[in-house]
């Protein structure tokens, strides 16, 4: 919990510099990501693996992933308004972003997370 609080502070402080698209190693923000799954389905397992890989490649040392299994904690689905599974929520840096799917399309995950500008 303490970590989340600290992260929120960091996120706030750096919100002015956030507009610039961060690239590898440049982003100073702390990334807090939450992945919602429902049981160990192939999609869920794939999503966890895909997310870990992307984060290790792009955000090494400055991210935290929280995996929430809704079969265990169904009451948590409402908070982030989860409908689809898997859903990835970028809690930090703001704004909150949602991405759904098993995250197999690395390019679109990076665009969705603002790790890469969208193709014109």
């Amino acid at each position: 919990m303490a970590e989340i609080k600290r992260a929120a502070k960091v996120g706030k402080k750096t919100s002015s510099s956030r507009k610039r698209v961060p690239s590898k190693g440049v982003a100073a923000e702390f990334w807090q990501l939450r992945l919602y799954i429902a049981g160990q389905t192939p999609n869920s397992v794939a999503a966890v693996a895909n997310l870990r890989k992307i984060c290790e490649d792009q955000l090494k040392g400055q991210y935290r992933i929280e995996v929430i299994d809704l079969l265990e904690k169904p009451q948590l689905a409402k908070g982030d308004q989860i409908i689809a599974i898997p859903t990835l929520v970028r809690r930090l840096p703001p704004p909150i972003k949602k991405i759904i799917g098993n995250l197999s399309k690395t390019e679109s995950v990076m665009v969705g997370l603002d790790l890469k500008p969208a193709l014109k």
Binding site: I82, I83, A84, I85
Partner: protein, 501 residues
């Protein structure tokens, strides 16, 4: 409180009563239990309201807790929307009878990066259902998902899975859907709903809005494909059903006095049949209302409840006018036996009037109903609707064994020709009031043109409305009935009968 009509429950399919007045009658007991029902229609047609009434009535009246997944309104907004109907959602939520889960749907599409499903929705629904042990579910309006998710093929497959999921858990569900251009719903949800589809419609003709309900499909249940008018007011939805699909109402042989001794005499000395319908036609100022008031007074004097629908005058005006002809109705109003209901004929469509007539009759439970005059009610609607509407009303009154008097204003000429045939054929008794000038002296006449099931006099009587009320005298013999063509047959028939020569 509305009740389910247990009599109408048919064997075979189990029903979950909606508690919505009229709807349970039309559907033979409610919505199919343990199945999914689709309620569709354009924005503002009342589908969300129907769904919420189904849910809240289920929780309050039938001991079936319910979950509402609302894709449009937040819990707070929904609670304030239905508060006007007397539904206290926060209290019901506290008592674990109703649970509302607002599902926020993003206006823009969410980034989709590979395979997914709607398991999140299933988890939420299951959690909600388990929390309050729900038996009923409302999904309003699940089509909103189509704006958030681009993979419509997946979405359709998931919706199909969701409906099956609901049925597997034996949940009785109502799903709402926005009307499409050519299809019942914009995204064709009707394809997945096998058991029951109800379509709502709201249209405005001649600046009068009418709402109609149609049961498009109801598997395993005989249902009318007719459109049923319905009304939304402070009590929610009420549907005006065809109360008797067959002419099965029982005919009473009990008689009730007309309140005018000579008129009773003209009708075998006994008056009207209880539960029969009486039409009083006449030009302006011939004493139609006085006749109705005389009957009302007599009924109140017997201790019966009367409901007086006034479409032309205010209750105060009627009371004053009747007092001037020696008919004191005020005392019965004070005693609580007589209840006036005044409304402007054009304030709502004919359906609206019928709907409120139904409702008031349900509340007041009268033995006598007066509609004064029915002419204005007809004027409020296109003529082609009138017959079926009136038939419903007359049937409804007969089933309830309520004696009814309808006054009908005719404009000049012969009242026989001026009275719509559609109206008169529904009536058991038809009394004509008219002005005549037999010897150049104008006077009023009353005669009974028809009265089913009795040997009534067809002799016209002079009618005098004085401070002592309505008095009928004998018409001189040398002036027999001078009726129009329509009346000629009835008169010639009478000549062979009881008419004294």
């Amino acid at each position: 409180m509305p009740r389910a009509n247990s009599k109408a429950v048919r064997r075979g399919i189990a029903k979950s009563p909606t508690g919505i007045q009229g709807l349970d009658e039309v559907t033979g007991g409610g919505l199919p239990r343990g199945r999914v029902t689709l309620v569709c229609g354009k924005a503002g047609c009342g589908k969300s309201l129907l769904a919420m009434e189904f849910l809240v009535h289920g929780a309050v009246l039938y001991g079936e807790p319910g979950v509402c997944m609302d894709f449009e309104e937040t819990e707070e907004k929904l609670a304030s929307n239905v508060a006007s109907l007397g539904f206290d959602l926060p209290a019901l939520a506290k008592a674990k009878k109703v649970l509302v889960d607002y599902v926020s749907v993003e206006r823009s599409r969410i980034t989709e990066t590979g395979d997914y499903n709607l398991e999140g929705l299933f988890v939420r629904l299951e959690h909600a259902v388990k929390t309050i042990n729900a038996k009923r579910v409302v999904l309003d309006s699940i089509e909103a998902l189509f704006s958030e998710l681009s993979d419509t093929r997946l979405l359709r497959a998931e919706l199909r899975r969701l409906f099956r999921w609901l049925e597997d858990r034996k949940l009785t569900a109502v799903v709402t859907g926005e009307a499409g251009e050519r299809t019942l719903t914009r995204h064709g949800l009707e394809e997945y709903i096998a058991d029951c589809v109800i379509s709502l419609d709201h249209r405005v003709t001649e600046q009068i809005s009418t709402r109609r309900m149609r049961i498009v499909k109801y598997r395993g249940t005989a249902h009318g494909t007719d459109e049923f008018p319905f009304l939304i007011d402070s009590d929610g939805i009420s549907v005006v059903p065809i109360t008797s699909l067959a002419l099965a109402h029982k005919a009473s042989s009990e008689r009730v006095s007309t309140g005018i001794p000579v008129l009773d005499e003209m009708m075998e000395g006994k008056g009207f049949f209880r539960g029969s319908s009486v039409l009083v036609s006449g030009t302006a100022g011939t004493g139609k209302s006085s006749l109705a008031a005389s009957f009302t007074r007599a009924a109140c004097a017997r201790g019966e409840h009367c409901l007086y629908f006034a479409f032309e005058e205010s209750p105060g005006q009627i009371l004053r006018n009747m007092r001037s002809v020696g008919i004191d109705l005020e005392r019965w109003v004070k005693k609580g036996l007589l209840h006036f209901h005044a409304m402007r004929p054009t304030s709502t469509g004919l359906e609206g009037h019928l709907s409120s007539v139904h409702k008031l009759i349900g509340q007041f439970r009268p033995s006598v109903v007066v509609v004064d005059p029915i002419t204005n009610m007809i004027a409020a609607s296109g003529s082609h609707d009138v017959k079926s509407m009136l038939m419903r009303l007359v049937d409804f009154l007969k089933v309830k064994q309520i004696t009814s008097i309808f006054t009908n204003l005719t404009l000049g000429g012969d009242p026989l020709q001026k009275t719509a045939a559609t109206v008169s054929s529904l009536m058991d008794t038809w009394i004509i009031l008219r002005d005549s000038k037999p010897n150049g002296t104008p006077r009023r006449e009353l005669y009974v043109l028809k009265s089913r099931g009795m040997a009534h006099s067809r002799e016209p009587r002079e009618l005098v409305v004085s401070r002592r009320g309505i008095e009928l005298g004998r018409v001189r013999r040398n002036h027999p009935v001078a009726t129009g063509i329509a009346g000629a047959e009835a008169v010639s028939g009478a000549e062979e009968g009881e008419w004294p020569k």
